[in-house]
Amino acid sequence: MKKSRLGEFEELVLLTVLVLKEEAYGTEIKRELESRIDQRLSVGSIQSALKRMEQKGFLTSAFGEATAKRGGKRKRIYSATTAAHTVLAEMKEIRTNLWNAIPNLKLGLQFV
């Protein structure tokens, strides 16, 4: 597998970036993802995932506005690249195909 792959957590962060569109910066991503998976996340884990994906070419970023709440520091707004869209679509397809390939699952569940 030569192609750069996404980890599970990275995939979640990437999807959140897509959801938030222009509002996709560190703290907002964290807030959004935390509410969706109902789990606390550290700033470090989010930032680390963002930087990794930026290096892999799934994200680009640019400085945004600065607010007083941020102590005058600018936000960095992330946006997904085409490569990210492609990989996400690929992964979704692989998952769908795999789900479809499990015909006995419902049967199995019945025995429970």
Binding site: K30, V43, Q47, S48, K51, R70, G71, K73, R76
Partner: protein, 877 residues
């Protein structure tokens, strides 16, 4: 929580964040963190939020978010880089003479100064290892005339220790140590001499910290007849360390002693060394030493002060004690004083010191010389690097032009100095390992000291390297980094005479120091030679002295021994006495309160007492100025001889008038029978002693035997044979009088050897520097030399031209140095009671020697260049 109160995240966490996070990410992440922190404040207390913030910062410390490691090790972008080292090595490779001269000079200098530091450290380590060393005090005796101290005596009276302890809470414990010289012990039919033994109190083992290796400390040394051996004596006598419970014989005292304990050998760095200890009560029983006497002050007294008592408090009680002694009429014209135990070795030099102590000022002198040697090597470095500044000016200019700060340049020059020093230190360690043995013997250090095991050594090494780096690197660093890039790059620098004056004055300084050291070495050598060559007042060669400590019944045996020896033609004369010239004045008993019967006022001088037979002056070839020697076959009742010095102290100007005068000697009246010409009892460092000769009545310690010409080996065998006949149970022990006498100069000789060695290296280092400078100058002037030769200059002229500059500097340095040197040598000589006059050649000879060596150094370099074919030198670029 309202915003207005404005709680901040913890400052340290923020600092950590700013320090650790990669600069590109910092603004974003710091902002995110701030926003998150503000969110936290919505539903948490500020305290919780702050804690959470700090925790969050730690979770941010991930490799892909942090600064690169290289930035961490290099927090300051204008600081040290690895490339500094690379540059340094390029500089070293470029000029091998420069590098070699520096490393050679510095490594010898470092090695030398480390040796000296080790020696100094050893001298300073005396008594420092003792558990109570900072609370221990030795009390000694000052002999007074009015309020002036005429003499200081290490010995005190036996009751001083016990009384002080009993009377004053400022004294916790005490021990006395009564020296016993030249003891013989016997086991079976074998006899062993014990040169140094002491009779001590039980507390000695605690205070001097000699725990028993075997044997029971409890109740030891309370009764007479007990002995403790050191390990090496135990092995020598018994061949084993299992000696406790065994007994030894003291044939001189006809007693058996039980060995109650075994201890380690006495420490090398203690002022009190010994082979054996015996219990203090034995002194009274077997050695005729009263415990109560206030007439004999033959023993050393050490006190332990309690922890909460200061030394000055104790001195207060000592003053009080002295008043008590005066009131009780126990002391008169004497005062008991104290000194700290740890000061004894370096500062105390009184009469009857147990061992010879070190001289603080000569230790400081050595330390100073070591420092000078290091400085000389550093001067080489400074001189060579400023000389090379022409070469490096362009480099500095370019570096500055492309943005190097003066600070970066300085770091570069310090790096170079540091690397040179590190290399030199490594070589110095090799030198130390190679020359360890010879150096230790020259310095008189115990062989078992391993310098590389001590932390002190490595700390000193580091210290020396850092000092030397700073001393050597500072000048080039500040001088070279200050160049103006535009001037330098335009080539204007080349006409500037920067640094030349400094270089000249440093060369002058180096050679001034060299001359001083060489003169001092020559002077001390000459002084020792002068002292050895002086007429001593007796003749030492051909005299063998046999120790005859043979108990109370020895008188008859001594007569027997003499008559046995006198049968042989090899032996010219035999005499018996209680001491010999050249023996330390320690061994001779002294007395005060002796004076002419019709003296106007009583004197308080201390006189030394010789017990001799009729033959003494004859055998040692001492001269009699007036009167007669003791009679051989008539009783010498109430007769005594004095020497010139004593006559002088008695107030008798003419020796002839002394004969027949009456002297109050203790309770007797005695008649002066003759006056002996002054002689040197000890080395010429000391004054002539005032001596009174009393006729020999009982056994004495020494038999002086003057030999006729002949084979000395055979003569000794002969004496040994006769000795064994007369004294079958006592070890035969002898010495040559001239060797014994020369022993006194051992310290002087050692000092001379050390300073000679240091001087040799100082000259070497100075010449190395000169060589480096000449190499440099010659290289710069190769083309000029070529032109001069083409125009007809001779080789001689060119050599003269090249060496003239340095020779002039050396002559200037001599002119400056000679007055200082003269002054210092003169001061040094004043420490001798008998000294030679300062000869001009003591200054001229070193000057000529240095000039010659310097000239050869320069010549070796210039000759090559001046002989070079101009075709070659003109092509030089």
């Amino acid at each position: 929580m309202s915003r207005s109160s404005n709680p901040r995240p913890p400052a340290w966490a923020l600092r950590l964040l700013r320090f650790a996070i990669h600069r590109d990410y910092l603004e974003e992440i710091e902002g995110d963190m701030e926003e998150w922190f503000q969110d936290q404040l919505e539903d948490r207390t500020p305290k919780q939020a702050r804690r959470a913030y700090a925790f969050e910062v730690f979770k941010l410390l991930r490799p892909n978010l942090m600064s690169s490691l290289s930035r961490l090790t290099n927090p300051d972008p204008s600081g040290f880089h690895l490339s500094n080292i690379k540059m340094a090595f390029r500089v070293f490779r470029l000029d091998k003479v420069y590098t070699a001269v520096n490393i050679l000079g510095l490594s010898t200098a470092i090695a030398i100064s480390l040796f000296v530091l080790l020696y100094v450290n050893f001298e300073f380590s005396y008594e420092k290892g003792l558990p109570y060393s900072d609370r221990m005090v030795r009390v000694t005796l000052d002999i007074l005339e009015g309020e002036t101290v005429t003499e200081q005596d290490c010995g005190t009276y036996p009751q001083v220790g016990p009384q002080l302890k009993e009377k004053y809470p400022e004294v916790e414990r005490f021990t006395r140590a009564h020296p016993i010289r030249s003891l013989t012990i016997g086991v079976g039919d074998k006899y062993f001499p014990v040169p140094k033994a002491y009779g001590v109190d039980p507390d000695f083992f605690d205070l001097f910290h000699y725990p028993f290796l075997s044997g029971n400390r409890q109740n030891a040394f309370l009764a007479p007849g007990e002995a403790v051996l050191t390990e090496s004596l135990a092995f020598k006598v018994f061949g084993t360390d299992d000696v406790v419970g065994k007994s030894i014989r003291l044939p001189q005292h006809k007693q058996n002693y039980e060995i109650v304990g075994l201890i380690e050998d006495s420490r090398e760095n203690s002022h009190l060394s010994f082979e054996m200890l015996i219990s203090f009560p034995s002194m009274k029983r077997d050695f005729n030493q009263s415990d109560e006497t206030w007439n004999q002050c033959n023993l050393y007294t050490y006190l332990l002060l309690p922890e909460d008592i200061s030394y000055s408090q104790f001195q207060g009680s000592l003053k009080n004690y002295n008043e008590f002694l005066l009131e009780e009429k126990l002391l008169e014209d004497e005062r008991i004083i104290s000194e700290m135990m740890s000061d004894i070795h370096l500062y105390s030099s009184k009469y009857y010191e147990p061992d010879e102590n070190a001289d603080y000022s000569s230790i400081l002198f050595l330390l100073g010389v070591a420092l000078l040697v290091i400085l000389l090597a550093n001067i080489n470095y400074v001189n060579l690097s400023t000389a090379k500044s022409l070469d490096r000016a362009r480099e500095v200019g370019i570096r500055k032009a492309i943005g190097s700060s003066p600070r970066q340049l300085r770091i570069q020059f310090f790096t170079e100095a540091f690397i040179i020093n590190i290399f030199s230190a490594l070589i110095a360690i090799f030198l130390l390992l190679i020359f360890e043995g010879p150096f230790k013997s020259v310095l008189g250090l115990p062989a078992q000291i391993r310098f590389y095991e001590s932390l002190f050594f490595w700390a000193m090494l580091l210290g020396v390297v850092l000092f030397s780096t700073l001393a050597a690197g500072a000048f080039p660093a500040f001088f070279l980094s200050a160049f103006q890039p535009i001037a330098v790059l335009k080539g204007q620098f080349f006409r500037m005479g920067k640094g030349i004056m400094l270089r000249r004055s440093l060369v002058v300084f180096q050679f001034a120091i060299t001359l001083l050291l060489l003169s001092q070495t020559l002077t001390s050598g000459e002084q020792v030679r002068y002292m050895l060559g002086q007429k001593l007042g007796f003749t030492t060669d051909q005299v063998i002295v046999v120790k005859t400590q043979n108990g109370r019944a020895g008188l008859e045996k001594q007569k027997l021994f003499r008559s046995a020896l006198m049968q042989h033609s090899a032996i010219e004369n035999v005499t018996f006495s209680n001491t010999m010239p050249g023996r330390s004045s320690l061994e001779i008993s002294t007395t005060t309160g002796v004076g002419l019967v019709n003296a106007e006022k009583e004197n308080n001088y201390n006189f030394y007492i010789y017990l001799t037979d009729y033959n003494f002056l004859n055998t040692l070839e001492m001269e009699l100025l007036s009167g007669e020697a003791f009679y051989e076959n008539r009783p010498n009742e109430n007769l005594l001889l004095i020497n010139e010095k004593t006559a002088e102290l008695f107030g008798i100007a003419d020796p002839k008038k002394a004969v027949g005068q009456m002297v109050n000697f203790w309770d007797e009246k005695m008649k002066i029978h003759g006056v002996v010409k002054d002689f040197h009892q000890s080395s010429l460092r000391s004054e002539i002693l005032p001596i009174i000769f009393l006729p020999w009545r009982q056994h004495t310690d020494f038999a002086g035997i003057r030999l006729n010409e002949g084979n000395v080996e055979d003569q000794i065998d002969l004496i040994r044979k006769e000795y064994a006949e007369v004294y079958p149970d006592i070890a035969f022990d002898f010495f040559f009088l001239d060797e014994e006498y020369a022993k006194q100069y051992e310290l002087d000789r050692r000092f001379q050897k050390i300073s000679g060695l240091l001087t040799g290296f100082a000259i070497l280092i100075a010449c190395l520097g000169l060589y480096g400078l000449t190499t440099f100058t010659v290289a710069k002037r190769t083309k000029e030399i070529g032109v001069r030769k083409v125009l007809g200059a001779s080789i001689g002229q060119i050599n003269l031209m090249l060496s003239r500059e340095f020779m002039r500097l050396i002559l200037i340095s001599f002119a400056l140095s000679i007055p200082v040197t003269y002054f210092l040598i003169d001061r040094w000589l004043r420490s001798f009671a008998f000294r030679m006059d300062i000869n001009p050649w003591l200054l001229v000879l070193p000057a000529v020697m240095i000039l010659l060596i310097a000239f050869l150094t320069i010549f070796s370099k210039t000759l090559k260049v001046s002989k070079l074919n101009p075709v070659v030198s003109l092509r030089d670029e």
